[in-house]
Assembly symmetry: C2
Homo-oligomer: 131 residues x 2
Amino acid sequence: MASKEPALRPTEAECKILDVIWNKKTATVRDVFEDLSQRQTIGHTTVLKFMQIMTDKGLLVRDTAVRPQVYRAARPKQETQQGLLRSLLDRAFRGSPGDLVLQALTMQRSSPEEIDEIRKLLDEMEAGSHK
Amino acid sequence: MASKEPALRPTEAECKILDVIWNKKTATVRDVFEDLSQRQTIGHTTVLKFMQIMTDKGLLVRDTAVRPQVYRAARPKQETQQGLLRSLLDRAFRGSPGDLVLQALTMQRSSPEEIDEIRKLLDEMEAGSHK
DNA sequence: TGATGTTGACGAAGTCCTTCGTAGATTGCC
DNA sequence: GGCAATCTACGAAGGACTTCGTCAACATCA
């Protein structure tokens, strides 16, 4: 039975699976299992169980018509990421994205390309708010 | 018995308590309880229990000499925030702070002051990486 | 010093997260 | 059709998170 709420806050293990599916667009249990196995020891049925739970929660949708059932993310990657970000923001940054951004930037060197892109975005934001 | 690991990933409920203590610098159980009570219904002993657990985990330290025991954060706010950020980064952003920053910025309008500050930081980062 | 209110320690219950083991269903091939 | 391999469902166990209830220790002040 699927829940009505879209479940915007996947748990840690769920994130690992989502990450694989985001990359592949669609995936079978085997696909995900083989991908994750390269980085950690995990059982095939464990992956399956998670994907079933995630389908119940509304994080994934699956096509049961084809035989190795094919799963997709129910919501776009960006939307889920934003849900997680908002959660972190509310939790630990008193809702201030500026603080979070500063911390994220100082934490780890970003590539020059990323820096440029961020600059561009800042410009757009400022232009957009000058109305 | 305190753990050796510094426990850089407080849970959701622990974050709420940390947030209060970050603001007050030091706090008794009663202080935290009264603060949190304004926003949610929570029992006094629940808060106490969390603060005891958090002390065990190494998130808080306390002075048992004074009678209403006084608690402080064991680590600076910034350090804990970075731990949480890193966790989110690893979880859902494939370790790319740039993506996370972009999402955070698009998510919610930042103030012009924040935007300026971010620009300044970007300049510094670029200057610093020009070796 | 004893009644009263506050503070602290402990234990326990309920839920959620994570992980499998087992066993039934389906498919592909000879 | 029958067998082997794969895929799916179900249930359960262990641990972590969250929340309290209870009771003991302590402080206060009349």
